[in-house]
């Protein structure tokens, strides 16, 4: 399967099943499009007719180009066949090893953000804080069920995890005590709205957290419109100075400024650039996850605007990089040489199998977005995963389980997409969230174009 597209002056050909990327001129672009269903003579005649006014397009030249295409096909870099489908269905036979937990240390929050998928932090349930005992048991469960995996991940999540900060620190210390005896390495991360960030939090997090995700939606009027406290006041002025200090003191350690865009800011590129202008250089912004009838829900009419915004952002990033003011945008951060192997691309995010969410009471769910939905309870940190039938469903939840993905060129980049988004959009974890797919494909087109631009050193 091929995907051909033109963006920012580049003619790009992606060979889906080998992962090969080719940048070609318009003649080769047209020839590759005709290659599978036309004879060599038909292609040459069509090109001589289309490019009759071009001196460089000769029969000899076109014959050479066809030979180049044939050589790439023979080398497994063009028109590569799909030989991976059987792997996707072998996953059910694999022993499940858990390698990541999302610890819901606080089902409560000090902000009252309108669009919060976690229902202002309590996930449609009671407000609660995780005890150290539950968290400790969760880490023991993770170590015990991680098999030979060395790298383990724990994200402190909520709600607002800083509302249970002492327990977070105790759990980090406990995790560190498990590393040497069990030959494990914990990678702790923290997701915060920033309100309770202070010097002590910064110092501890910059020492112990591999990544810190800080919630900021961009421009002040955008952020404050939906991210308010319970008194109805926007939080921008409170959190921005704290985040700036946090990011500055993190040095080379990873962090992300993570925003959400909605129907109210479909020009979200301006919010990303605002983050960059505030001095942040690791940025992410995501489409809102909410019910279709929410006032801030993205609409069908918004889609072409959003797709164009991703292109504008990619071009602006290339421009800024050339000016020495570059920044990282999470979704454009692909590495064509050192990206994920085919197993990772097929198995996806691992929700419900190698990645689980833990509630303050120790219940296990497939991921943070299923928490609170009793149909998706998988077990608990004392007894482990008891709903093995549900785990088996998630084992097969990948691009090859979804009919809509059969003809999609991006399936080895998203692995079928987010199970929770699919569930909320279609009622099935093996459905697809078509709107999200459109956005994802555009992001991948932009990300690959940026890699092409950097490798060909041609910034438009």
């Amino acid at each position: 399967m091929l995907h051909q597209y033109q963006l920012n002056g580049y003619n790009i050909v992606l060979d889906v099943f080998s992962g090969s990327v080719h940048v070609v001129d318009e003649v080769a672009y047209d020839m590759i499009a005709l290659y599978e269903n036309h004879t060599a003579e038909e292609i040459i005649e069509a090109m001589l007719k289309k490019y009759a006014d071009r001196e460089d397009v000769t029969r000899e030249d076109l014959t050479q180009c066809l030979e180049d295409i044939a050589a790439l096909e023979k080398a497994g870099k063009l028109f590569t066949k799909d030989t991976y489908a059987h792997m996707a269905f072998d996953f059910k036979k694999r022993v499940t090893e858990v390698k990541a937990l999302c610890l819901h240390v606080a089902h409560t929050c000090n902000l009252n953000c309108s669009y919060c998928f976690a229902a202002q932090g309590n996930y449609h349930g009671e407000r609660a804080l995780m005890s150290f005992e539950v968290g400790k048991q969760a880490l023991d469960f993770l170590v015990k069920n991680s098999g030979k995996r060395k790298n383990l991940e724990v994200d402190f999540f909520g709600g607002e995890p800083l509302m249970n900060w002492d327990v977070v620190k105790q759990l980090v210390a406990y995790g560190r005590s498990l590393e040497e005896p069990h030959n494990k390495k914990f990678r702790f991360t923290l997701t915060t709205n920033g309100v309770l960030v202070d010097d002590e939090v910064i110092e501890f997090a910059n020492r112990e957290m591999n990544n810190v995700v800080m919630s900021l939606d961009g421009r002040k009027e955008v952020h404050d419109h939906l991210r308010k406290n319970y008194a109805g006041q926007g939080s921008y002025d409170v959190v921005v100075p704290k985040f700036q200090k946090f990011a500055k003191l993190r040095g080379d350690k990873e962090y992300y400024i993570r925003g959400t865009y909605t129907h109210h800011n479909t020009d979200f590129t301006n919010d990303v650039l605002h983050m960059a202008d505030l001095g942040f250089d690791r940025l992410s912004i995501e489409p809102v996850v909410c019910a279709e009838n929410d006032p801030y829900a993205l609409t069908k009419e918004d889609l072409p605007v959003l797709l164009e915004q991703y292109e504008i952002l990619a071009k602006e990033m290339l421009k800024r990089e050339k000016e020495g003011k570059g920044f990282i945008f999470y979704h454009y951060m692909i590495d064509l040489n050192h990206g994920p192997c085919i197993y990772k691309r097929i198995s996806g995010c691992g929700s419900g199998t190698e990645y689980l969410a833990v509630t303050p009471w120790g219940e296990l769910f497939p991921c943070h977005q299923f928490v609170g939905d009793e149909k998706y309870t998988m077990g608990n940190v004392w007894d482990g995963v008891t709903n093995t039938a549900l785990r088996d469903e998630f084992k097969l939840c990948n691009a090859y389980a979804r009919k809509d993905c059969e003809t999609c060129w991006a399936k080895l980049y998203c692995s079928g997409g987010c199970a929770a988004n699919a569930y909320h959009a279609t009622g099935s974890i093996t459905g697809t969230h078509a709107y999200g797919c459109e956005l994802f494909r555009k992001r991948m087109e932009c990300a690959i174009m940026m890699q092409v631009a950097k490798q060909t050193e041609k910034v438009e």
Binding site: F17, S20, F117, N151, E286, H338, G339, I342, Y343, C349
Partner: protein, 48 residues
């Protein structure tokens, strides 16, 4: 003249030869809502 330039990429078929599972869980890394941008620290040695 060359009309086609091939960008260097990891060969996906070759990457199947050995999956170590040590890479980062995608959803944990930044966005939590919406696998391509994960890195494989073992891509060189694994594919060799």
């Amino acid at each position: 003249m060359t009309r086609i330039q091939t960008i260097e990429t990891r060969d996906l078929a070759q990457s199947a030869v050995n999956g170590c599972g040590e890479c980062q869980t995608s959803c944990q890394s930044a966005c939590k809502t919406s696998v391509a941008n994960q890195l494989c620290e073992n891509s060189d040695e694994k594919d060799a």
